[in-house]
Symmetry: C2
Subunit: 222 residues, 2 copies
DNA sequence: CCAAGTACCTACTGGCGAGTAAGACTACTG
DNA sequence: CAGTAGTCTTACTCGCCAGTAGGTACTTGG
C-alpha cells in the first residue's frame, strides 16, 4: 500500500520549498491563461498543470486576479528587460538602437510564445485591474520607444516634423510590432531576425522608398 | 391594475417585429461584449440592455456563441465596407488609396467605438470558433491591404525588394493602425484625419525621412 | 523523542450564469 | 368569433468554478 496522497499516475514530487512551488505555479498559470484566456482558465486546471493542489495556489499566490496580475508582472518584466538589454548593446546610432530593440523583441516572442500570448491577447481584453497592470507595462514600452525616437530626432537636429508626434508614432510602432508578432506565430518559417528586418525596413525607410528599391541594411555586427 | 407583464420601471415597448428585435439585441450585445469581454458578459445583462427577456434572445439569435459570432460578422462587415468605400473614392494613385483607406478606418473607429472594441480587443482574445470568424475578417483586411501594396509595387515596376514581403508588411500596417486606434481612444483631442495622417507619414515616408523633415502631404481633395 | 511549524491534501459550499420548460398574450385570417 | 402563428414572459434546472474548512504528513530544532 502506498502513502495516502499518491495518485494512480505519476508520483507527485513532495515537499518542495515555497520559492520553487511559486515558480511552478506561475509557469503553469502562464501556460493555461495563454491557452484559455483569463475567464475560461480555471484554477483547478492551473493547479493540475502545476502538479499541486488548489489550496496551495491560493495560499501562495492569492486569488485568481492576484495570480493573473503576478503572471503579467513577471512576464512583462522579462520582456522589458530583454528589449532594454538589446538596445543597450547598440551604439549611439539611432537606427541601430531601433534595430536591436526590434530584434530583441522578436527574439523574445519566438522563445516565449506563451508569455507573449498572455501579455498581448489576454491582458488587453480584460477590463479588470490587470488591464491597468498590463497597460502600465505597455505604456513603459511606448515611452521607451518614444524616448528613442525623440533621441533620434534631436540627434539629427530636426524640428516640427517629428517632435510632438513621437508618442503617437511610438504607439503605432509598438502596435505594428505586436501585430507582426502575431502574424509570425502563424508563419513560423521565418527567423526572428528576418521578421525584425522587415519591420525595420517599413518603419525606417517607409513604403514609398521600399517600392523604389531603397532598403535599409543592418550594420555589420548582426 | 396594469397588465401582467409590465414592470415597475419604464414600460417595455411591446410586440415588435422580429427584425427590429434582432437589431436591438445585436446593438445591446455589441455594447455589453465591448465593455465586459466575451466571458464576463452575461446573457442576462444583454437581454436587459436590449430591453427584452432572455428566452427571446435565444429564440432569435441562438446561443451565446452564435450571438457573439453574429456581432462580429455585422460589425466587421460594416468596417470593411467603410474602408472599401474609402479606397474606391480614391483615384489610381497608390498613396491616395492608402490614405483614403486609413482615413475611412479611423473615421469608423471614432464613430463606432464599441464596434471597434468588440472587434479588436474581445474577438482576438477568445480561442473559440469566433477567433475564426474574426480571424477571417482580419485576414480579409490584410489581404485588401496586401493587394493594395502589391498594386503599388507593380505600378512602380519594382522587384524583389517589396514583393513577397507584402503579406508581412500588410500585417504590420494593419497592426499599426489597430494600435494607433487604441492610442487614439485615450487621446481623443485629435481628429480622425490627423491621426490617419500621422500613420500615413510613418508608413509612406519612413521614420528616417520624417526625421530629415521630409513629410508626405495629402492630395488636394481631402 | 517531542513540539511546532510548514507543506500539503480531500472534500466541500455557495453563487453565478447558460440554457429551457411551459405557457400567456396579441394579431391576423378566414 | 375560432384557430393559428408569432411575440413574449416568469421561473426554473443544472453544471461549473472560485474560494475554504478542516485536517494529515513531513521535518526541523531542541
Amino acid at each position: 500500500m502506498r502513502s495516502t496522497h499518491e495518485r494512480a499516475g505519476r508520483v507527485r514530487s513532495k515537499r518542495l520549498p515555497r520559492e520553487v512551488r511559486e515558480r511552478q505555479i506561475l509557469d503553469a498559470a502562464v501556460e493555461v491563461f495563454s491557452q484559455r484566456g483569463y475567464h475560461a482558465a480555471s484554477m483547478d486546471e492551473i493547479s493540475e498543470v502545476a502538479d499541486i493542489s488548489k489550496p496551495m495556489v491560493y495560499a501562495y499566490l492569492g486569488s485568481k486576479e492576484d495570480l493573473f496580475a503576478a503572471c503579467i508582472r513577471r512576464e512583462a518584466t522579462k520582456l522589458m528587460e530583454a528589449i532594454a538589454d538589446g538596445v543597450a548593446e547598440a551604439g549611439n546610432s539611432p537606427d541601430e538602437q531601433l534595430w536591436r530593440g526590434l530584434r530583441a523583441f522578436f527574439g523574445f516572442v519566438g522563445e516565449f510564445r506563451d508569455s507573449w500570448r498572455v501579455l498581448h491577447r489576454q491582458a488587453s481584453a480584460q477590463g479588470g485591474p490587470f488591464a491597468q497592470e498590463l497597460g502600465d507595462m505597455r505604456k513603459r514600452a511606448i515611452s521607451l520607444v518614444a524616448a528613442l525616437l525623440i533621441n533620434t530626432a534631436q540627434d539629427e537636429g530636426v524640428g516640427a516634423a517629428a517632435t510632438g508626434q513621437t508618442d503617437a508614432l511610438a504607439a503605432a510602432l509598438v502596435g505594428a510590432s505586436e501585430s507582426l508578432a502575431d502574424w509570425w506565430l502563424d508563419h513560423p518559417e521565418e527567423s526572428a531576425g528576418a521578421v525584425a528586418a522587415r519591420l525595420m525596413n517599413l518603419v525606417w525607410m517607409g513604403f514609398g522608398n521600399l517600392v523604389d528599391g531603397h532598403t535599409w541594411q543592418p550594420p555589420k555586427g548582426s
